[in-house]
Every structure is written in C-alpha cells, then in structure tokens.
C-alpha cells in the first residue's frame, strides 16, 4: 500500500536523504555489548530528534512529528532499507509511556517526562506481571498503601524487560484488596532510583539478561505520580498494552521481511524445488501479514479497530516461529552457533543470526498476553463465543 502517492513519495525521499546523510554506518561492529548498543541507540535517537525526525507518532506540541500512519510506515521501510540502528531500548518510553501519558497523564506528568524521553535521558520499563499474575494479570498483588501524599509499595514484579537499565517504571499496584480483582488496581509512575528497590536480571534462554525481577520494600511513590484515579489502573493499562499491537508492529514486520529475503537467498543457494516452495510460501505469508497490518492500522486510524489486533498477534508470532524453524533447516549447523549478546537489543532488524530470531520468537507467543489468551479474546470478544466459567475470586 501507499506506494503511488506522490506526496508520500516526496516525504520518503526527504527521509531517505536524511538517513543517507546521518545514519551511522558500521555501527554493528561497535555494538558489542548492551552498554555500547545503548549508547549507539541513544545517540541515534538524539540525531533523529535534532533533524526533526524523532518521535514520528507524537503530536508536534510535545516535540514529535505528528506523522500520519502512512508516513510512519514509510519511515519504517526506509529505516530497514538504510540499515539504521533501531531505538528499541527507548521503545517503551517512546511508545507505551507516551501513549499512556497522552491519554491519561496530567500536563505536569507529560512535561516532566516527554522532553527527557526525547533527549534520550529516560529509559522506561513496565512492571505489570508478577509471579502469581501472568496471563491472569488482574490477580496482581503488589500492594500500595496510602500514607498522606505518598503510596508505600511492597511486593514483586517479574518479566520487566530492561529494568536493569531503566530509570522509570510503569507500575501496576493493588490499592484495594477487597474489591473484585480488576477493580482494585492503580497505575503509577515509579522512579527506579528510589530506595527499597532491588532489581535482579533473569538470564533468559537466549543467554542474555533481558528480563528482570523487581522487588519493592517500603518504596515511596508520591501520589502525584499516579496516572488517573485510584483503582482505575486496569482500564488504563489496556491502553498501554494496546500500543503493542498497533504501529509498534511495523518494525516487527520489517524484520520478518528481512528474514524472508534472506530465506529466498538461502533457497536459491540450495537450489531444490522444495526449498523454493518453502521460501515462496513464507514470502506469501509475510506479504499478507504486512498487508493485514497496514489495513488494520488504517482501520484503527478511522477508529474502527478493536480486538482484531489479537488476530495480528497470533499470526505474526506463530509465522515467525514457523519461518525461523524452516530457516534453521535450510542453514544447517551454522545456525546452531551462538551470536553476540548485543544482537538481542536490536531485534528490529535481521542481524544474520537465525538462532536468535528463532529463539526470540518464543517471547512473542508468550509475552504481551500469551497466544492462548489472544485466542480467548478472539473467541469471546470477536466471535462472541460463551466465556469459560470463571470464578471471579477476590485476591486473598
């Protein structure tokens, strides 16, 4: 889609010119550790913002571009074409935090955080899941007790991506332990440099330290850091989570396109009909995924999206697993070798490691609402099938 619009074409060329002049070359060689990768991304974010190409989807009054959806899609395509660094480590801040603040934050909260995010000075993580609240997120039990102008927080979060490098956290806490579980949750912004916080990275199956456990002992959060009203957090976090299934998916699809192109080259090298068939079938599916995403985003822009985004999630995550499984066989034992740790942090582009792409893809069917939960959503909210009998138990 969008290929024939002359205005868009002019926009594309302007951005391409910017990338040609400014995108760092050979940065992958220097991305040898999470820390160096972070600095490469930070520097690139600042270059983008200085050039007027930062935070494409943010409104202009907060320093964004106010870009249309089509323009965002074009920019993603050009990023992939130029091999520009991703800004994945700022993704939570640029996407989830901004969406949440713009819809539910106070003007003070926006002005405190959005400019620093644009400067690359704030890295954010998400503190939603808990050991006892994964798919059943509303069962979360990290407690926040009001004490004058503060909340005192005790409990534990898990699967907080990048918490070990983050400055701030989007946190869900329980403020009413008596109410039906999703009615006693509050959404707060937590300064991770506060006393009483312990962050322990979890070594993932990739070998990297991407996810973290976060422990809270009498952590003080000012009430002014609350988003929305007390006990309204469940509703607000749906907005935060929904961003994961919107334009946020554009780079994911670009990565799949890159993988698909590489698979095409592998199939040519192998030269058998079977390999050609496999590559063609994945080319077909990735092309369909890309079209489905564009059409879903356009519908969303016209206010007609909804739980259909679950269809996208189920499809892209499993397609990625199927595609990389097939690629592992095409590549052979080379794909069984490990890859530099820093690759994990640039998951927007295909880095040449099928192993990493393959194992990463399991995070996609589990994180952000497992595919089993997504299929329940499709069955119940899209198709209208009856719910499974579910006891609405209180938390304790």
């Amino acid at each position: 889609m969008f290929e024939d619009d002359p205005e868009l074409q002019a926009f594309r060329l302007r951005y391409r010119e910017f990338l040609d002049a400014n995108a760092p070359r050979g940065w992958r060689v220097n991305a040898t550790s999470p820390d160096t990768t972070l600095e490469i991304q930070r520097s690139w974010l600042r270059t983008l913002v200085a050039g007027g190409w930062g935070a494409a989807h943010w409104p202009t009054e907060y320093g964004g571009m106010g870009a249309t959806l089509a323009q965002q899609i074009v920019m993603q395509q050009e990023n992939a074409r130029a091999g520009a660094p991703a800004v994945t480590m700022f993704g939570m801040a640029l996407v989830h935090v901004a969406a949440t603040l713009l819809e539910f934050g106070t003007p003070e909260q926006r002005h405190e955080h959005m400019p620093s995010i644009l400067r690359g000075d704030e890295i954010w993580c998400q503190g939603f899941s808990e050991p006892g609240a994964g798919s059943d997120l509303a069962a979360l039990s990290t407690r926040a007790v009001r004490d004058g102008d503060n909340y005192i927080i005790n409990g534990q979060k898990i699967w907080s991506s990048g918490a070990n490098r983050a400055d701030w956290c989007l946190l869900l806490v329980r403020t009413d332990p008596i109410a039906v579980k999703h009615k006693g949750i509050t959404f707060v912004l937590l300064d991770l440099h506060s006393p009483g916080i312990e962050i322990r990275p979890i070594k993932s199956l990739l070998g990297s330290q991407e996810f973290c456990e976060v422990f809270f002992t009498d952590v003080v959060v000012p009430v002014s850091n609350r988003i929305g009203e007390e006990n309204e957090g469940w509703h607000i976090c749906q907005t935060t989570l929904a961003t994961e299934r919107g334009p946020y998916l554009l780079p994911v699809v670009n990565k799949l396109r890159g993988e698909c192109a590489e698979m095409g080259r592998l199939a040519e090298a192998i030269g058998t009909d079977h390999a050609a068939q496999v590559a063609a079938s994945f080319h077909a599916e990735v092309t369909i995924l890309s079209e489905l995403l564009d059409r879903t985003l356009i519908k969303a822009a016209f206010g007609k999206s909804g739980n259909e985004s679950s269809i996208l999630k189920v499809y892209y995550s499993e397609l990625s697993q199927r595609l990389t499984t097939a690629a592992l066989e095409m590549v052979g034992l080379d794909a069984q070798l490990s890859w530099p740790e820093a690759f994990d942090l640039n998951s927007d582009t295909f880095d040449g490691s099928w192993g990493m792409s393959h194992y990463w893809s399991w995070s996609w069917t589990i994180a952000g609402g497992s595919n089993e939960i997504q299929r329940n959503i499709i069955g119940e909210r899209v198709l209208g099938l009856p719910r499974e009998p579910r006891p609405e138990a209180k938390v304790r």
């Binding site: 290929e3 063609a280 080319h283 092309t287 369909i288 059409r295 299929r375 499709i378 069955g379």
Partner: protein, 372 residues
C-alpha cells in the same frame, strides 16, 4: 473508507440479499440434483444485476467496472456456494476474447456473455487439467481449413457452454481458438465431482473444423493463457474468501449452541481456539484476495495473484478440516452444510493450478525481480 468502498459495500448488500433469497442451501440442495446443476433463473438475475458485465467494457455490453467490485460478487458467490458458471464464462472465456481477440470477435462474442444469453468456458489445459502439463489438443491445417483434435481435461461448466476458448498446440507453439460447443466432433464427457456445487467435463475434439474467424489473434498465446490462469486463480481465491467467511459463521453458530457436559461446547478452550484459528485463516485470506483484486494490471499483480491463489487454497482446505472437526458427528453427515464447503475448498485448491504450482510462479516472479 473511500467512495470506492462505499460502492462495493452497496454491491455486497444487494448481492448478499439476492443470494440469500434465491440460493439458500435448501435451494442449493435441489439445484445440485438437477441434470445441469446450475440455476438458470439465478444466472439471468445475475445478468440483470450487472454482475456478468461488471468488468467488461461498455462498448461490448459491460459496465466497465473494476475488479474491486467483481471481487465483492465473487466473494458473495463463494459464501453462498452458488452454482453459477461465472468464473468460467466471465473471467476465463470473456477474458480470453478481450485479451486476445480482435474487434469483430469481441463484438460478436462478448455481449452475449454480459447479458447472460450465452455461457462460455475456457479449455486451457491438457488432459490432466493442470496448467503445468502439456496441452493435449492440437490444430492442423488440412485441405485449407484448420482442424482441432485431442482433449482438454476437467473443463469447468463445459456442459452448459455454448462456446469455449480452447488452448491447442499449433506445431510447437500454443494457440487459442473459439469452438462452438455444439460443433460436429465436439464431445463433452460430464464428470461426477465430489464438489457437487461445481461441474467439470472432459472435452474431446475429433477433427473439429475451426472457421478462421474463430482463431483469436494474439501474438503470444502463452502470455494470454498465463494471464487467464492468474485471473481465474484470483477469482477462485475470492470465492474461497467468501466461503471461509461463511465457514467461520456457521461453525461459531454451531459450537455456540451445541451443549455437552452442561456447557456450550464453544466455551471450551479447545473448541474456542479452533474457532479463533478459523478467523485468523479467514482474515488473512481475505487480505490476500482483496489485495490481489486491487493489484490487477499493477506492478505487483503477478506476485499477488500467486500469493492469493496458493494461500487461499491451503487455508480454505485447512479451515474446513477444522470446521468439520468442530461440528463433530453431524459434520460427517450430508444433512449439515459444512461438507459442501469442505469439498468446494478442495476443488478450489486444485482448479487453475495447485498451491505448489502458484508458488512456483511466485518464485519465478521474485527471481525475475532480483535479476532486474
């Protein structure tokens, strides 16, 4: 939604109403038991509603519309399982004459297709009916006239056709000729298909004399045949999109009513997730089919046509497997409608080239792009 979409949605509403009224599956069950297996009065209505001439030029009795609109009609036909020879007559036969015929041939043959007074088909392949196997019909010049002999296999709707476009070899190269279905030497051997909503026939040619006016003037008949395979493939894909949509609806309705263990079976995750998978298939196939219809004649037409045909064939087939499973025992009966979709899916998957064949075309297209 642009004005284009509004027009398409109006067309969809009217097509859905016409087919709901005239071809509910209770009527379909009567039609499939008739000798010809098509509903001629519904075909006449299709002509009145402008479906047949939708993409044909105004100069030959059509309305000069786009595939964006034809797609809607084809989806609705697939949804209703309507036994209408539209793909054979409009997409293939009229398509061949529009692509390869001269002005006289177009003026003579197309208005009858557009107004429904004639039904035509295309006999484009060899005895196996597969586009990747050699033609088994040939033309020779004998005593100053052109004579057709041999066979074309698995020709859709040949039994109700008044003429057909036949692909035959002329020496080493293919050619396209128009053959009167009732001409001496033409024998139409009707076949019993498992998909009772469509009819196929082997067509045998025994020294059929072809008037020179019936040779379609085209420099490169193979290009025309390839294009007809793409168009028929996309038409089948759109038929499948409509079928998939209906399969999701009737399966969800059934599992939302059927009770076991004191619960609707659709409340069980195992069944609910089957239904979610059906919707994923349906939505992705729809995107492929519509993107292909919108891509016609554009830079990505060849790519999208191959994607739509291969993907819809595989997903419709797999979705109907799952759907029958969701229906359980009654899914295995003739009484419930789901088996009609299951069989239409399987014939659709193979007709006008299998998914494997279309993926070969896709590979060739991508390769030629890399070479550019």
């Amino acid at each position: 939604m642009g004005p284009n979409d509004e027009l398409a949605e109006e067309l969809r509403a009217s097509a859905r109403k016409a087919l709901d009224d005239r071809m509910p599956t209770t009527v379909l069950r009567q039609v499939i038991d008739t000798e010809d297996g098509i509903d001629r009065s519904l075909y006449a209505l299709a002509a009145d509603l402008g479906w047949l001439g939708l993409t044909l030029p105004e100069s030959v009795g059509g309305s000069g519309g786009s595939w964006h609109e034809l797609a809607v009609v084809l989806e609705e036909i697939g949804r209703a399982l309507a036994p209408l020879p539209m793909i054979a007559s409009v997409v293939v036969a009229a398509g061949a004459v529009m692509l390869a015929g001269d002005d006289e041939q177009q003026q003579r043959l197309i208005p009858g297709i557009a107004d429904g007074s004639a039904i035509a088909t295309g006999a484009l392949f060899g005895a196996s009916g597969r586009p990747d196997e050699p033609l088994a019909a040939r033309v020779e010049r004998r005593d100053g006239s052109l004579v057709l002999s041999g066979v074309s296999g698995f020709v859709p709707d040949a039994h109700v056709s008044s003429w057909m476009v036949v692909a035959a070899t002329d020496g080493a190269v293919p050619t396209l000729v128009v053959v009167d279905s009732s001409a001496p030497g033409v024998r139409i051997e009707r076949l019993d298909t498992t998909d009772v909503t469509r009819r196929l026939a082997h067509v045998h040619f025994d020294d059929v004399v072809i008037p020179s006016a019936n040779v379609l003037a085209s420099a490169d008949a193979q290009h025309v045949i390839d294009e007809l395979v793409r168009r028929a493939g996309v038409a089948i894909a759109l038929d499948s999109v409509g079928g998939l949509e209906r399969v999701v609806e009737i399966t969800v309705a059934y599992v939302g009513e059927r009770e076991q263990f004191g619960r609707k079976v659709g409340s069980f995750q195992a069944v609910k997730h089957h239904c979610a998978n059906l919707l994923v298939f349906s939505e992705t196939a729809r995107v492929a089919g519509r993107a292909a219809a919108d891509a016609i004649d554009g830079a990505r037409w060849v790519e999208w046509a191959a994607i739509a045909k291969s993907y819809s064939g595989d997903t419709y087939t797999e979705a109907t497997r799952i759907a029958v499973q969701c229906f359980g025992g009654v899914g295995f009966t003739w009484e419930y409608d789901i088996h009609f979709y299951m069989k239409r899916a399987r014939l659709s998957q193979q007709l006008f080239g299998s998914p494997t064949y279309h993926r070969q075309l896709l590979t060739r297209e991508l390769r030629s792009r890399t070479a550019d």
